[in-house]
Protein backbone atom coordinates (compact mmCIF):
# COMPACT_ATOMS: atom_id res chain seq x y z
CA UNK A 1 0.00 0.00 0.00
CA UNK A 2 2.70 2.43 0.95
CA UNK A 3 5.48 0.40 -0.53
CA UNK A 4 6.79 3.12 -2.84
CA UNK A 5 7.62 5.43 0.03
CA UNK A 6 11.37 5.93 0.19
CA UNK A 7 11.46 5.81 3.98
CA UNK A 8 10.29 2.21 3.99
CA UNK A 9 12.20 0.75 1.10
CA UNK A 10 15.65 0.09 2.33
CA UNK A 11 16.96 2.11 5.22
CA UNK A 12 15.32 0.65 8.34
CA UNK A 13 15.54 -2.97 7.26
CA UNK A 14 19.15 -2.64 6.26
CA UNK A 15 20.11 -1.22 9.62
CA UNK A 16 18.49 -4.05 11.52
CA UNK A 17 20.79 -6.55 9.90
CA UNK A 18 24.07 -4.67 10.07
CA UNK A 19 24.97 -5.96 13.49
CA UNK A 20 23.46 -3.07 15.42
CA UNK A 21 21.35 -4.89 17.99
CA UNK A 22 18.30 -3.23 19.48
CA UNK A 23 19.09 -2.21 23.05
CA UNK A 24 16.45 -4.60 24.33
CA UNK A 25 13.64 -4.82 26.70
CA UNK A 26 14.42 -1.66 28.66
CA UNK A 27 13.95 0.58 25.63
CA UNK A 28 10.65 -1.12 24.85
CA UNK A 29 9.50 -0.71 28.44
CA UNK A 30 10.53 2.95 28.67
CA UNK A 31 8.95 3.76 25.31
CA UNK A 32 5.73 2.04 26.25
CA UNK A 33 5.57 3.85 29.60
CA UNK A 34 6.23 7.26 28.09
CA UNK A 35 3.58 6.66 25.41
CA UNK A 36 1.14 5.50 28.07
CA UNK A 37 1.77 8.63 30.13
CA UNK A 38 1.18 10.75 27.03
CA UNK A 39 -2.05 8.86 26.36
CA UNK A 40 -3.21 9.50 29.89
CA UNK A 41 -2.28 13.20 29.65
CA UNK A 42 -5.80 13.90 28.39
CA UNK A 43 -7.33 12.48 31.57
CA UNK A 44 -4.72 14.21 33.73
CA UNK A 45 -5.37 17.61 32.13
CA UNK A 46 -9.14 17.25 32.36
CA UNK A 47 -8.76 16.37 36.05
CA UNK A 48 -6.43 19.31 36.63
CA UNK A 49 -8.83 21.69 34.89
CA UNK A 50 -11.67 20.56 37.16
CA UNK A 51 -9.56 20.78 40.31
CA UNK A 52 -7.65 23.98 39.65
CA UNK A 53 -10.57 26.10 38.44
CA UNK A 54 -12.98 24.85 41.11
CA UNK A 55 -10.38 25.43 43.81
CA UNK A 56 -9.81 29.03 42.70
CA UNK A 57 -13.52 29.70 42.27
CA UNK A 58 -14.39 28.27 45.66
CA UNK A 59 -14.60 31.58 47.56
CA UNK A 60 -17.39 32.67 45.21
CA UNK A 61 -19.23 29.34 45.39
CA UNK A 62 -19.08 29.21 49.18
CA UNK A 63 -20.12 32.85 49.52
CA UNK A 64 -23.09 32.69 47.16
CA UNK A 65 -24.09 29.04 47.51
CA UNK A 66 -27.01 28.10 45.30
CA UNK A 67 -27.69 31.80 44.67
CA UNK A 68 -24.75 31.75 42.29
CA UNK A 69 -27.00 29.85 39.86
CA UNK A 70 -30.44 31.15 40.85
CA UNK A 71 -29.98 34.87 41.45
CA UNK A 72 -30.05 37.48 38.72
CA UNK A 73 -28.26 40.12 40.81
CA UNK A 74 -24.75 40.66 39.47
CA UNK A 75 -23.72 43.71 41.45
CA UNK A 76 -19.98 44.10 41.69
CA UNK A 77 -19.79 47.03 44.17
CA UNK A 78 -22.10 45.17 46.58
CA UNK A 79 -20.23 41.92 45.91
CA UNK A 80 -23.39 40.08 44.81
CA UNK A 81 -22.69 37.45 42.19
CA UNK A 82 -25.78 35.75 40.79
CA UNK A 83 -25.17 34.35 37.33
CA UNK A 84 -28.68 33.40 36.21
CA UNK A 85 -28.87 36.22 33.65
CA UNK A 86 -25.69 34.93 31.98
CA UNK A 87 -26.87 31.31 32.01
CA UNK A 88 -30.07 32.55 30.42
CA UNK A 89 -28.12 34.62 27.88
CA UNK A 90 -26.01 31.57 26.98
CA UNK A 91 -29.17 29.53 26.36
CA UNK A 92 -30.81 32.28 24.27
CA UNK A 93 -27.76 32.83 22.05
CA UNK A 94 -27.27 29.05 21.61
CA UNK A 95 -30.95 28.57 20.79
CA UNK A 96 -30.89 31.32 18.15
CA UNK A 97 -27.70 29.84 16.71
CA UNK A 98 -29.22 26.35 16.51
CA UNK A 99 -32.47 27.57 14.94
CA UNK A 100 -30.48 28.94 12.01
CA UNK A 101 -27.54 26.53 11.90
CA UNK A 102 -29.37 23.17 12.12
CA UNK A 103 -31.59 23.42 9.01
CA UNK A 104 -28.77 24.99 7.00
CA UNK A 105 -26.30 22.32 8.11
CA UNK A 106 -28.66 19.46 7.29
CA UNK A 107 -29.34 21.11 3.92
CA UNK A 108 -25.62 21.49 3.27
CA UNK A 109 -24.91 17.89 4.22
CA UNK A 110 -27.70 16.71 1.89
CA UNK A 111 -26.39 18.98 -0.85
CA UNK A 112 -22.94 17.42 -0.56
CA UNK A 113 -24.04 13.80 -0.24
CA UNK A 114 -27.11 13.66 -2.50
CA UNK A 115 -27.20 16.53 -4.98
CA UNK A 116 -23.83 18.08 -5.81
CA UNK A 117 -21.94 16.49 -8.69
CA UNK A 118 -18.93 14.52 -7.54
CA UNK A 119 -16.47 17.00 -8.99
CA UNK A 120 -18.08 19.92 -7.15
CA UNK A 121 -18.13 18.10 -3.82
CA UNK A 122 -14.50 18.69 -2.96
CA UNK A 123 -14.91 22.43 -3.57
CA UNK A 124 -17.93 22.67 -1.32
CA UNK A 125 -16.10 20.83 1.44
CA UNK A 126 -13.20 23.28 1.00
CA UNK A 127 -15.58 26.22 1.36
CA UNK A 128 -16.97 24.75 4.58
CA UNK A 129 -13.45 24.10 5.86
CA UNK A 130 -12.68 27.73 5.12
CA UNK A 131 -15.72 28.76 7.14
CA UNK A 132 -14.43 26.65 10.03
CA UNK A 133 -10.90 27.99 9.86
CA UNK A 134 -11.79 31.71 10.08
CA UNK A 135 -10.80 32.71 13.63
CA UNK A 136 -13.57 33.61 16.06
CA UNK A 137 -12.15 37.09 16.60
CA UNK A 138 -12.37 37.86 12.87
CA UNK A 139 -16.06 36.92 12.89
CA UNK A 140 -16.38 39.25 15.87
CA UNK A 141 -14.60 42.11 14.11
CA UNK A 142 -16.74 41.77 10.98
CA UNK A 143 -19.92 41.38 12.99
CA UNK A 144 -19.19 44.43 15.12
CA UNK A 145 -18.02 46.85 12.43
CA UNK A 146 -20.08 45.68 9.43
CA UNK A 147 -23.01 43.45 10.28
CA UNK A 148 -24.30 45.08 13.47
CA UNK A 149 -24.54 48.60 11.97
CA UNK A 150 -26.12 47.17 8.80
CA UNK A 151 -28.72 45.17 10.74
CA UNK A 152 -29.80 47.91 13.16
CA UNK A 153 -32.37 49.33 10.74
CA UNK A 154 -33.62 45.82 9.99
CA UNK A 155 -34.12 45.15 13.71
CA UNK A 156 -35.96 48.46 14.01
CA UNK A 157 -38.28 47.50 11.12
CA UNK A 158 -39.11 44.14 12.69
CA UNK A 159 -39.69 45.84 16.01
CA UNK A 160 -42.14 48.36 14.54
CA UNK A 161 -43.91 45.64 12.52
CA UNK A 162 -44.75 43.71 15.66
CA UNK A 163 -45.43 46.84 17.72
CA UNK A 164 -49.10 45.99 18.32
CA UNK A 165 -48.87 42.20 18.45
CA UNK A 166 -49.00 40.94 22.02
CA UNK A 167 -46.03 38.82 23.21
CA UNK A 168 -44.13 39.40 19.96
CA UNK A 169 -43.89 43.10 20.74
CA UNK A 170 -41.84 42.28 23.82
CA UNK A 171 -39.74 39.56 22.17
CA UNK A 172 -38.83 41.31 18.91
CA UNK A 173 -37.73 44.60 20.36
CA UNK A 174 -34.95 45.99 22.48
CA UNK A 175 -34.48 48.38 25.31
CA UNK A 176 -32.26 49.94 24.19
CA UNK A 177 -32.66 48.60 20.67
CA UNK A 178 -29.10 48.18 19.41
CA UNK A 179 -27.18 46.51 16.63
CA UNK A 180 -25.22 44.44 19.13
CA UNK A 181 -27.69 42.08 20.80
CA UNK A 182 -28.69 38.45 21.35
CA UNK A 183 -29.73 37.99 17.70
CA UNK A 184 -26.55 39.41 16.17
CA UNK A 185 -24.45 37.21 18.46
CA UNK A 186 -26.68 34.20 17.73
CA UNK A 187 -26.46 34.67 13.96
CA UNK A 188 -22.68 34.84 13.98
CA UNK A 189 -22.46 31.80 16.27
CA UNK A 190 -24.79 30.00 13.83
CA UNK A 191 -22.28 30.67 11.06
CA UNK A 192 -19.47 29.39 13.28
CA UNK A 193 -21.12 26.10 14.31
CA UNK A 194 -22.47 25.27 10.83
CA UNK A 195 -19.22 23.57 9.69
CA UNK A 196 -19.05 21.16 12.65
CA UNK A 197 -22.74 20.20 12.45
CA UNK A 198 -22.45 19.80 8.67
CA UNK A 199 -19.38 17.58 8.83
CA UNK A 200 -20.84 15.23 11.46
CA UNK A 201 -24.22 15.08 9.69
CA UNK A 202 -22.42 14.34 6.44
CA UNK A 203 -20.58 11.42 8.05
CA UNK A 204 -23.87 10.14 9.43
CA UNK A 205 -25.55 10.37 6.00
CA UNK A 206 -22.61 8.48 4.53
CA UNK A 207 -23.48 5.48 6.72
CA UNK A 208 -26.91 5.10 5.10
CA UNK A 209 -26.74 1.86 3.10
CA UNK A 210 -26.69 2.59 -0.64
CA UNK A 211 -28.98 -0.37 -1.26
CA UNK A 212 -31.79 1.29 0.73
CA UNK A 213 -31.47 4.53 -1.22
CA UNK A 214 -31.38 2.66 -4.52
CA UNK A 215 -34.39 0.60 -3.48
CA UNK A 216 -36.36 3.78 -2.75
CA UNK A 217 -35.50 5.26 -6.14
CA UNK A 218 -36.28 1.95 -7.86
CA UNK A 219 -39.75 2.02 -6.30
CA UNK A 220 -40.33 5.36 -7.99
CA UNK A 221 -39.53 7.74 -5.15
CA UNK A 222 -38.43 11.25 -6.00
CA UNK A 223 -35.15 12.42 -4.53
CA UNK A 224 -36.90 14.16 -1.65
CA UNK A 225 -38.99 11.06 -0.93
CA UNK A 226 -35.83 8.97 -0.99
CA UNK A 227 -34.22 11.37 1.50
CA UNK A 228 -37.26 11.26 3.78
CA UNK A 229 -37.80 7.54 3.48
CA UNK A 230 -34.26 6.18 3.48
CA UNK A 231 -31.78 8.82 4.67
CA UNK A 232 -33.56 10.52 7.58
CA UNK A 233 -34.91 7.46 9.44
CA UNK A 234 -31.44 5.96 9.41
CA UNK A 235 -29.74 9.15 10.61
CA UNK A 236 -32.03 10.47 13.30
CA UNK A 237 -29.84 9.76 16.34
CA UNK A 238 -26.73 10.91 14.50
CA UNK A 239 -28.36 14.23 13.67
CA UNK A 240 -29.33 14.66 17.33
CA UNK A 241 -25.70 14.00 18.28
CA UNK A 242 -24.44 16.51 15.72
CA UNK A 243 -26.88 19.15 16.98
CA UNK A 244 -25.73 18.55 20.57
CA UNK A 245 -22.08 18.90 19.58
CA UNK A 246 -23.03 22.16 17.86
CA UNK A 247 -24.83 23.24 21.03
CA UNK A 248 -21.72 22.57 23.09
CA UNK A 249 -19.63 24.69 20.72
CA UNK A 250 -22.22 27.48 20.71
CA UNK A 251 -22.31 27.65 24.51
CA UNK A 252 -18.55 27.88 24.76
CA UNK A 253 -18.12 30.41 21.96
CA UNK A 254 -16.50 33.41 23.55
CA UNK A 255 -14.75 36.08 21.56
CA UNK A 256 -17.24 36.73 18.77
CA UNK A 257 -20.06 36.79 21.33
CA UNK A 258 -18.12 39.07 23.66
CA UNK A 259 -17.82 41.59 20.83
CA UNK A 260 -21.37 41.22 19.52
CA UNK A 261 -23.69 40.86 22.49
CA UNK A 262 -23.20 44.35 23.87
CA UNK A 263 -22.64 43.50 27.55
CA UNK A 264 -25.58 43.98 29.85
CA UNK A 265 -26.13 42.15 33.11
CA UNK A 266 -29.94 42.51 32.96
CA UNK A 267 -32.11 39.47 32.32
CA UNK A 268 -34.43 40.41 29.48
CA UNK A 269 -36.81 38.70 27.08
CA UNK A 270 -36.19 41.38 24.43
CA UNK A 271 -34.05 39.78 21.75
CA UNK A 272 -32.79 43.07 20.28
CA UNK A 273 -31.40 44.21 23.64
CA UNK A 274 -27.78 43.86 24.67
CA UNK A 275 -27.10 40.94 27.00
CA UNK A 276 -24.28 38.67 28.11
CA UNK A 277 -23.41 34.98 28.08
CA UNK A 278 -21.29 33.11 30.61
CA UNK A 279 -18.31 33.05 28.28
CA UNK A 280 -18.65 36.68 27.16
CA UNK A 281 -18.84 37.95 30.75
CA UNK A 282 -15.60 36.18 31.58
CA UNK A 283 -13.86 37.67 28.53
CA UNK A 284 -15.22 41.19 29.04
CA UNK A 285 -14.89 41.56 32.81
CA UNK A 286 -11.88 39.43 33.79
CA UNK A 287 -9.35 42.23 33.31
CA UNK A 288 -11.01 44.58 35.77
CA UNK A 289 -11.85 41.94 38.40
CA UNK A 290 -10.18 40.92 41.64
CA UNK A 291 -10.72 38.66 44.68
CA UNK A 292 -14.26 37.25 44.99
CA UNK A 293 -15.29 39.00 41.76
CA UNK A 294 -12.56 37.16 39.89
CA UNK A 295 -13.43 33.93 41.70
CA UNK A 296 -17.03 34.36 40.55
CA UNK A 297 -15.92 34.76 36.92
CA UNK A 298 -13.79 31.62 37.22
CA UNK A 299 -16.87 29.96 38.75
CA UNK A 300 -18.73 30.73 35.53
CA UNK A 301 -15.90 28.95 33.72
CA UNK A 302 -16.35 25.91 35.98
CA UNK A 303 -20.07 25.83 35.20
CA UNK A 304 -19.34 26.15 31.48
CA UNK A 305 -16.78 23.33 31.68
CA UNK A 306 -19.22 20.98 33.41
CA UNK A 307 -22.11 21.79 31.06
CA UNK A 308 -20.04 21.31 27.90
CA UNK A 309 -18.65 18.01 29.21
CA UNK A 310 -22.15 16.70 29.96
CA UNK A 311 -23.43 17.76 26.53
CA UNK A 312 -20.34 16.26 24.89
CA UNK A 313 -20.84 12.90 26.62
CA UNK A 314 -24.51 12.70 25.61
CA UNK A 315 -23.72 13.80 22.04
CA UNK A 316 -20.99 11.17 21.63
CA UNK A 317 -23.47 8.56 22.81
CA UNK A 318 -25.85 9.46 19.99
CA UNK A 319 -23.14 9.59 17.33
CA UNK A 320 -21.54 6.35 18.54
CA UNK A 321 -24.88 4.56 18.14
CA UNK A 322 -24.87 5.41 14.43
CA UNK A 323 -21.23 4.38 14.05
CA UNK A 324 -21.91 0.98 15.62
CA UNK A 325 -24.88 0.43 13.35
CA UNK A 326 -22.90 1.63 10.34
CA UNK A 327 -20.13 -0.84 11.14
CA UNK A 328 -22.65 -3.66 11.58
CA UNK A 329 -24.19 -3.24 8.13
Amino acid sequence: MVADSPSLDSAPVARLTDGHRPPGRIVDFVFRSVAMLAGFSVLIILGLIAFSTTHTAWPAFSKEGIHFFTSTTWDVPKAKFGALAFIYGTLVVSAIALVFAVPVSIGLALFITEIAPRRLRRWIVTVIDLLASVPSVVYGLWGLLVMAPAFTGFYRDISSTFRHVPVLNTVFTGRPLSGVNFVTAGLIVALMITPIITSITREVFATVPGAQKEAAVALGATRWEMIRGAVFPHSRSGIVGAVLIGLGRAMGETIAVALLIGSSTALTGRLFSPGDTMASVIANQFGESNDVYRAALIGLGVALFIITIIIGVIARGFVARVERRGAGV
Partner: protein, 300 residues
Protein backbone atom coordinates in the same frame (compact mmCIF):
# COMPACT_ATOMS: atom_id res chain seq x y z
CA UNK B 1 -37.26 24.88 5.62
CA UNK B 2 -39.58 22.05 6.57
CA UNK B 3 -37.82 18.79 7.12
CA UNK B 4 -40.65 16.31 7.47
CA UNK B 5 -44.20 16.85 6.22
CA UNK B 6 -47.10 14.45 6.50
CA UNK B 7 -47.77 12.55 3.26
CA UNK B 8 -51.57 12.62 3.71
CA UNK B 9 -52.60 15.14 0.99
CA UNK B 10 -50.78 13.18 -1.69
CA UNK B 11 -53.05 10.18 -1.20
CA UNK B 12 -56.22 12.22 -1.70
CA UNK B 13 -55.33 13.62 -5.11
CA UNK B 14 -55.90 12.07 -8.53
CA UNK B 15 -52.97 10.50 -10.40
CA UNK B 16 -51.95 13.52 -12.47
CA UNK B 17 -52.29 16.04 -9.65
CA UNK B 18 -50.51 13.62 -7.34
CA UNK B 19 -47.60 13.39 -9.69
CA UNK B 20 -47.44 17.16 -10.04
CA UNK B 21 -47.56 17.72 -6.28
CA UNK B 22 -44.81 15.16 -5.72
CA UNK B 23 -42.63 16.82 -8.34
CA UNK B 24 -43.37 20.19 -6.77
CA UNK B 25 -42.34 18.99 -3.34
CA UNK B 26 -39.21 17.48 -4.74
CA UNK B 27 -38.41 20.73 -6.51
CA UNK B 28 -39.05 22.80 -3.38
CA UNK B 29 -36.93 20.54 -1.22
CA UNK B 30 -34.11 20.51 -3.76
CA UNK B 31 -34.08 24.29 -4.01
CA UNK B 32 -34.12 24.61 -0.21
CA UNK B 33 -31.10 22.33 -0.06
CA UNK B 34 -29.24 24.31 -2.73
CA UNK B 35 -30.26 27.52 -0.99
CA UNK B 36 -28.61 26.38 2.24
CA UNK B 37 -25.28 26.37 0.43
CA UNK B 38 -25.87 29.92 -0.82
CA UNK B 39 -26.89 31.04 2.68
CA UNK B 40 -23.47 29.96 3.95
CA UNK B 41 -21.49 31.14 0.93
CA UNK B 42 -22.77 34.75 0.99
CA UNK B 43 -21.65 35.73 4.51
CA UNK B 44 -18.33 33.95 4.04
CA UNK B 45 -17.68 35.84 0.81
CA UNK B 46 -18.73 39.13 2.43
CA UNK B 47 -16.50 38.50 5.44
CA UNK B 48 -13.43 37.69 3.37
CA UNK B 49 -14.21 40.55 1.00
CA UNK B 50 -14.38 43.05 3.86
CA UNK B 51 -11.23 41.78 5.53
CA UNK B 52 -9.26 41.99 2.29
CA UNK B 53 -10.65 45.35 1.11
CA UNK B 54 -10.31 47.08 4.47
CA UNK B 55 -7.05 45.47 5.48
CA UNK B 56 -4.90 45.39 2.38
CA UNK B 57 -3.77 49.03 2.09
CA UNK B 58 -2.24 49.02 5.56
CA UNK B 59 -0.82 45.54 5.08
CA UNK B 60 2.80 45.25 4.06
CA UNK B 61 6.33 44.77 5.34
CA UNK B 62 6.10 47.82 7.61
CA UNK B 63 2.86 46.55 9.10
CA UNK B 64 4.36 43.16 9.86
CA UNK B 65 7.50 44.53 11.51
CA UNK B 66 6.91 47.97 13.04
CA UNK B 67 5.99 48.57 16.66
CA UNK B 68 2.34 49.09 17.59
CA UNK B 69 1.58 52.85 17.72
CA UNK B 70 -0.85 54.45 20.19
CA UNK B 71 -4.57 54.03 19.60
CA UNK B 72 -5.08 57.39 17.88
CA UNK B 73 -1.96 57.32 15.67
CA UNK B 74 -2.76 56.21 12.14
CA UNK B 75 -0.38 54.03 10.17
CA UNK B 76 1.09 50.57 10.23
CA UNK B 77 2.60 48.53 13.01
CA UNK B 78 1.71 45.07 14.34
CA UNK B 79 5.22 43.62 14.57
CA UNK B 80 5.09 42.57 18.24
CA UNK B 81 1.77 40.82 17.69
CA UNK B 82 2.97 38.96 14.58
CA UNK B 83 6.04 37.86 16.49
CA UNK B 84 3.95 36.97 19.55
CA UNK B 85 1.53 34.85 17.52
CA UNK B 86 4.38 32.93 15.90
CA UNK B 87 6.28 32.53 19.19
CA UNK B 88 3.27 31.39 21.23
CA UNK B 89 1.90 29.08 18.54
CA UNK B 90 5.38 27.70 17.87
CA UNK B 91 6.00 26.93 21.55
CA UNK B 92 2.54 25.36 21.84
CA UNK B 93 3.29 23.17 18.82
CA UNK B 94 6.66 22.13 20.26
CA UNK B 95 4.91 20.90 23.40
CA UNK B 96 1.67 19.48 22.02
CA UNK B 97 2.96 17.62 18.95
CA UNK B 98 5.45 15.24 20.65
CA UNK B 99 3.06 14.58 23.53
CA UNK B 100 0.09 14.15 21.21
CA UNK B 101 1.91 11.85 18.80
CA UNK B 102 3.14 9.69 21.69
CA UNK B 103 -0.39 9.58 23.09
CA UNK B 104 -1.74 8.58 19.69
CA UNK B 105 0.92 5.86 19.49
CA UNK B 106 -0.23 4.50 22.82
CA UNK B 107 -3.87 4.40 21.71
CA UNK B 108 -3.19 2.80 18.35
CA UNK B 109 -0.20 0.52 19.01
CA UNK B 110 -0.57 -0.52 22.65
CA UNK B 111 -4.15 0.17 23.68
CA UNK B 112 -5.77 -0.91 20.38
CA UNK B 113 -9.41 -1.84 20.97
CA UNK B 114 -8.99 -2.40 24.72
CA UNK B 115 -11.01 -0.73 27.43
CA UNK B 116 -8.31 1.77 28.46
CA UNK B 117 -7.79 2.94 24.87
CA UNK B 118 -11.53 3.26 24.31
CA UNK B 119 -11.92 5.36 27.46
CA UNK B 120 -8.96 7.58 26.55
CA UNK B 121 -10.25 8.00 22.98
CA UNK B 122 -13.61 9.04 24.38
CA UNK B 123 -12.08 11.63 26.69
CA UNK B 124 -9.84 12.98 23.92
CA UNK B 125 -13.01 13.62 21.92
CA UNK B 126 -14.65 15.26 24.92
CA UNK B 127 -11.58 17.41 25.47
CA UNK B 128 -11.79 18.82 21.92
CA UNK B 129 -15.21 20.19 22.92
CA UNK B 130 -13.98 22.03 26.04
CA UNK B 131 -14.39 25.77 25.36
CA UNK B 132 -11.10 27.52 24.69
CA UNK B 133 -11.82 30.14 27.34
CA UNK B 134 -11.86 27.36 29.95
CA UNK B 135 -8.33 26.39 28.87
CA UNK B 136 -7.27 30.00 29.46
CA UNK B 137 -8.85 30.01 32.92
CA UNK B 138 -7.16 26.68 33.66
CA UNK B 139 -3.67 27.96 32.84
CA UNK B 140 -4.42 31.18 34.71
CA UNK B 141 -5.44 29.33 37.88
CA UNK B 142 -2.92 26.50 37.63
CA UNK B 143 0.15 28.36 36.38
CA UNK B 144 -0.10 32.15 36.32
CA UNK B 145 -1.46 32.47 39.88
CA UNK B 146 1.58 30.54 41.14
CA UNK B 147 4.33 31.98 38.98
CA UNK B 148 2.78 35.48 39.12
CA UNK B 149 4.15 35.90 35.63
CA UNK B 150 2.22 36.81 32.52
CA UNK B 151 4.34 35.60 29.62
CA UNK B 152 4.27 33.93 26.22
CA UNK B 153 4.89 30.53 27.78
CA UNK B 154 1.61 30.63 29.70
CA UNK B 155 -0.16 31.41 26.43
CA UNK B 156 1.63 28.53 24.76
CA UNK B 157 0.49 26.15 27.52
CA UNK B 158 -3.13 27.18 26.99
CA UNK B 159 -2.93 26.74 23.22
CA UNK B 160 -1.05 23.46 23.69
CA UNK B 161 -3.95 22.12 25.78
CA UNK B 162 -6.28 22.95 22.89
CA UNK B 163 -4.07 21.25 20.30
CA UNK B 164 -3.27 18.12 22.30
CA UNK B 165 -6.53 16.16 21.88
CA UNK B 166 -6.72 17.00 18.17
CA UNK B 167 -3.20 15.65 17.60
CA UNK B 168 -3.81 12.54 19.71
CA UNK B 169 -6.92 11.72 17.72
CA UNK B 170 -5.40 12.26 14.26
CA UNK B 171 -2.26 10.29 15.16
CA UNK B 172 -4.39 7.44 16.47
CA UNK B 173 -6.56 7.41 13.35
CA UNK B 174 -3.63 7.66 10.93
CA UNK B 175 -1.62 4.92 12.67
CA UNK B 176 -4.59 2.58 12.56
CA UNK B 177 -4.64 2.97 8.76
CA UNK B 178 -1.11 1.55 8.52
CA UNK B 179 -1.42 -2.06 7.31
CA UNK B 180 -0.58 -4.75 9.87
CA UNK B 181 1.75 -6.45 7.36
CA UNK B 182 4.27 -3.65 7.81
CA UNK B 183 4.41 -4.22 11.56
CA UNK B 184 4.54 -7.99 11.16
CA UNK B 185 7.33 -7.70 8.61
CA UNK B 186 9.40 -5.55 10.91
CA UNK B 187 8.87 -7.78 13.91
CA UNK B 188 9.66 -10.86 11.81
CA UNK B 189 13.00 -9.30 10.95
CA UNK B 190 13.73 -9.18 14.66
CA UNK B 191 13.09 -5.56 15.61
CA UNK B 192 11.41 -4.75 18.86
CA UNK B 193 8.07 -2.98 19.12
CA UNK B 194 9.47 0.46 19.99
CA UNK B 195 11.78 0.29 16.99
CA UNK B 196 9.02 -1.00 14.72
CA UNK B 197 6.83 1.93 15.71
CA UNK B 198 9.48 4.61 15.36
CA UNK B 199 11.10 3.31 12.17
CA UNK B 200 8.27 1.65 10.27
CA UNK B 201 4.78 2.55 11.47
CA UNK B 202 5.29 6.23 12.26
CA UNK B 203 7.03 7.12 8.95
CA UNK B 204 4.30 5.34 7.03
CA UNK B 205 1.64 7.51 8.71
CA UNK B 206 3.71 10.70 8.81
CA UNK B 207 1.95 12.75 6.09
CA UNK B 208 -1.44 12.22 7.72
CA UNK B 209 -0.10 13.14 11.15
CA UNK B 210 1.64 16.26 9.80
CA UNK B 211 -1.60 17.30 8.13
CA UNK B 212 -3.56 16.89 11.38
CA UNK B 213 -0.91 18.77 13.34
CA UNK B 214 -1.00 21.66 10.85
CA UNK B 215 -4.77 21.91 11.19
CA UNK B 216 -4.36 22.01 14.97
CA UNK B 217 -1.73 24.76 14.59
CA UNK B 218 -4.09 26.73 12.35
CA UNK B 219 -6.84 26.48 14.93
CA UNK B 220 -4.53 27.50 17.78
CA UNK B 221 -3.05 30.47 15.89
CA UNK B 222 -6.48 32.07 15.58
CA UNK B 223 -7.51 31.59 19.20
CA UNK B 224 -8.07 34.63 21.37
CA UNK B 225 -10.00 33.58 24.44
CA UNK B 226 -7.31 31.42 26.09
CA UNK B 227 -4.76 34.22 25.69
CA UNK B 228 -6.79 36.97 27.32
CA UNK B 229 -5.80 36.19 30.91
CA UNK B 230 -2.31 34.88 30.39
CA UNK B 231 -0.76 37.68 28.34
CA UNK B 232 -0.11 41.29 29.28
CA UNK B 233 -0.17 44.05 26.71
CA UNK B 234 3.13 45.14 25.16
CA UNK B 235 3.80 47.51 22.30
CA UNK B 236 7.42 46.54 21.59
CA UNK B 237 8.51 43.15 20.33
CA UNK B 238 9.39 40.81 23.19
CA UNK B 239 11.57 37.97 21.97
CA UNK B 240 11.52 36.10 25.25
CA UNK B 241 9.28 33.14 25.86
CA UNK B 242 9.53 33.36 29.64
CA UNK B 243 10.36 36.95 30.58
CA UNK B 244 7.88 39.73 30.33
CA UNK B 245 4.50 40.17 28.73
CA UNK B 246 3.65 39.44 25.16
CA UNK B 247 0.81 39.96 22.73
CA UNK B 248 -0.75 38.23 19.74
CA UNK B 249 -2.59 39.20 16.56
CA UNK B 250 -5.88 37.78 17.81
CA UNK B 251 -5.69 39.73 21.09
CA UNK B 252 -4.85 42.93 19.18
CA UNK B 253 -7.85 42.44 16.88
CA UNK B 254 -10.10 41.90 19.91
CA UNK B 255 -8.87 45.07 21.63
CA UNK B 256 -8.82 47.25 18.51
CA UNK B 257 -12.21 46.11 17.21
CA UNK B 258 -14.03 47.85 20.04
CA UNK B 259 -11.77 50.89 19.97
CA UNK B 260 -13.52 54.12 19.00
CA UNK B 261 -10.53 55.34 16.95
CA UNK B 262 -10.46 54.81 13.20
CA UNK B 263 -6.68 54.26 13.27
CA UNK B 264 -7.05 51.31 15.65
CA UNK B 265 -9.91 49.82 13.67
CA UNK B 266 -7.79 50.06 10.51
CA UNK B 267 -5.04 48.12 12.22
CA UNK B 268 -7.60 45.57 13.41
CA UNK B 269 -8.64 44.90 9.78
CA UNK B 270 -5.05 44.59 8.60
CA UNK B 271 -4.27 42.32 11.55
CA UNK B 272 -7.31 40.21 10.65
CA UNK B 273 -5.99 39.91 7.10
CA UNK B 274 -2.61 38.82 8.48
CA UNK B 275 -4.17 36.27 10.83
CA UNK B 276 -6.45 34.81 8.15
CA UNK B 277 -3.41 34.64 5.87
CA UNK B 278 -1.43 32.67 8.47
CA UNK B 279 -4.33 30.33 9.20
CA UNK B 280 -5.07 29.72 5.51
CA UNK B 281 -1.42 28.97 4.73
CA UNK B 282 -1.37 26.26 7.41
CA UNK B 283 -4.71 24.89 6.20
CA UNK B 284 -3.61 24.78 2.55
CA UNK B 285 -0.29 23.09 3.40
CA UNK B 286 -2.23 20.55 5.48
CA UNK B 287 -4.48 19.85 2.48
CA UNK B 288 -1.44 19.33 0.25
CA UNK B 289 -0.07 16.78 2.75
CA UNK B 290 -3.44 15.02 2.81
CA UNK B 291 -3.58 14.97 -0.99
CA UNK B 292 -0.07 13.53 -1.24
CA UNK B 293 -0.93 10.91 1.36
CA UNK B 294 -4.16 9.78 -0.25
CA UNK B 295 -2.56 9.67 -3.72
CA UNK B 296 0.21 7.51 -2.36
CA UNK B 297 -2.08 5.08 -0.59
CA UNK B 298 -4.44 4.73 -3.56
CA UNK B 299 -1.56 4.29 -6.02
CA UNK B 300 -0.65 0.85 -4.77
Amino acid sequence: MSVITAPVPVARLGPAAKHRSRALRNGLATSAIVLSFVVVLVPLALLIGYVVSRGWHLFGYAFLTKEIPTQITPGPGMGPAVYGTLLITGAATAMAVPLGVLGGIYLSEYGRGGLIARVLRFFAEIMTGVPSIVMGLFIYTAVVLHTKNLNAFAGALALGCLMLPIIIRTTDEMLRLVPAELREGSVALGSRQARTIMRIVLPAAAPGIVSGALLAVARAAGETAPLLFVLSPVYKTNHSLFHGGNTALSVQIFNNASSPYAASQQRAWAAALTLIGIVFIFTVVARIFTAVYSRRSTAA
